[in-house]
């Protein structure tokens, strides 16, 4: 069965909700978020620090093949209830999106199925919309670059 991710972002609101059902027991879904070596594997980022506990904090960093840092993010963990929820802040460094407050809820659906919902609250509607637009803009840039590559090879 194909499980789908939904993104709910109402026009004019400074929040968004991402939900997804998984073919995984809730314990494994939670582990994927709480354990550094697992998070590294699916997020494709280096986890410099991850303290999955109240008053804990985390820091992620991604580098390209040449070793240049291309992504850095950090935040504080306010609440961490095993197999249930994580409340944390999230901030992408050197980006205009500000700090977001994230409520992650892990829900058991059955023996081997579970659901995750991420409720993100932004400081402003503009910041939320800019973040939503990022993959879209990036997609356009990628298409442009590919086009340029092809065109330059033709010459």
């Amino acid at each position: 069965m194909k499980r789908k991710t939904t993104v709910h972002a109402e026009v004019g609101k400074q929040e968004l909700v991402i939900t997804r059902e998984f073919d995984l027991p809730v314990e494994l879904l939670f582990k994927a978020y709480a354990e550094p070596e697992l998070l590294e594997q699916w997020m494709g980022t280096k986890v410099l620090k991850l303290e999955s506990k109240p008053h804990g904090s985390y820091r992620f960093e991604t580098s390209d093949k040449e070793g240049n840092v291309v992504f850095q993010a950090n935040g504080s963990i306010h609440e961490c209830v095993v197999d249930q929820k994580i409340t944390r802040t999230f901030e992408m460094e050197n980006a205009p999106f500000g700090v977001q407050l994230e409520f992650l809820e892990f829900e058991r659906l059955g023996e081997t199925t579970s659901k995750l919902s991420i409720h993100s609250v932004f400081r402003s509607v503009t910041q939320r919309d800019q973040l939503l637009a990022l993959p879209f803009t990036y997609g356009i840039n990628m298409a442009h670059n590919r086009l340029q590559d092809i065109v330059s090879k033709l010459n």
Partner: protein
Amino acid sequence: MNLRRDVFQAIADPTRRAILVLLATQSMTAGAIAANFDTARPTVSKHLQILTECDLLEQEQMGREVHYHINAKKMKEIADFIEPFRNMWDDRFNDLERVMKNYKPKK
């Protein structure tokens, strides 16, 4: 592509979003729309002009009056706008599922 960006800029403004909400259920004249805001009439006209240029609003001549209404097709495009964001998360979650299905607890 520029058009797309313009649409996005158009909905980034709170007054313009309020206008879209106002017009969601009815068509209205510029005067009737302006009556809902404290902003000066020319400012509201400017907002209507931007929304019309982005094709989010359509004008319709009804006798001596011009009525504004929402272009549903264009609004749908904004909904599609977040599709790449959704795809990004879908890919990421597929990876999560794959990683965790192969996960063998140590011990």
